[in-house]
Subunit: 145 residues, 2 copies
Amino acid sequence: MAIFSKTCEYAIRAVLFIAHKTALGNRVGIKDIATGIDSPEHFLAKILQDLSRKGLISSNKGPNGGFYMDALALERPLSEIVEAVDGDSLFKGCALGLKQCSEVNPCPLHNEFKDIRNNIQRMLSDTTIGNFNEELMSGLLSLKK
Amino acid sequence: MAIFSKTCEYAIRAVLFIAHKTALGNRVGIKDIATGIDSPEHFLAKILQDLSRKGLISSNKGPNGGFYMDALALERPLSEIVEAVDGDSLFKGCALGLKQCSEVNPCPLHNEFKDIRNNIQRMLSDTTIGNFNEELMSGLLSLKK
DNA sequence: AAAATAAAAGACAAAAATATCTTTTATTAA
DNA sequence: TTAATAAAAGATATTTTTGTCTTTTATTTT
């Protein structure tokens, strides 16, 4: 199994795509985004609607409409996307799925996974959405294939 | 989303349960295992049949039958269970789901996730199934709830 | 005001993961 | 050699995830 759900993979890729495409005032349409990250258009639309409702990205209807992000939104950490889509179980949950797993009632992997969970959380919290804009614009990083 | 699939969570918990319950020659039935790790009995049965086919655990039918593991099986790393059930995408796959993600064609998170993937793989490869037997027998670790 | 544009929303479909129930097969013990 | 036991296998059901198609709403331009 992968680290993130398919939905979350699309979400991150799409947000990074929007981020670097609209860094200075433009907007980008769902069709361009779907093509740009190689994802099913209408499925992605649902995901972006959700992220929009949650305030992570912005959108406008009509001609010249589309999705965009302001400067403030670019400063948000990747962890917000992940939490919005997949929840916090990757950071907080028990690796073996035990509801009551804790320091006093640990599963066998409780201690071995503590560092790993913290590393994931720290990395996603310390990395902003706008962090990759230059490399994305210069084509050094890929969001499709 | 969780790190492992539900199937894999059950698999690890069940194998650790079998490991410590049969450390010296006993066998344990599917009903006891399912109760012992709080999982759906018949669903777990399928999982164990699969692990048995793959040689990770052993079983016998009939009276006094059940599942068990020999000394050698206890030395296997946890990573074998994970690979048998969830595959290797947790260790090898691209976090953003890109098929061609690599050093020369990296996704934005390629480098950030390199350490994390390695940590997970190392931990699971360095930890044997039998590693938790004492603590499980003494009740210091939990496999249910 | 009408037409064009683009996201939002709704309805539906397919696939995969998870779960349950029944029948069959192998093994043991009486 | 029959009955009992327990895993293996098969069939089916439910839920969740992923994906598609159509209609509606908001906005802009003519």
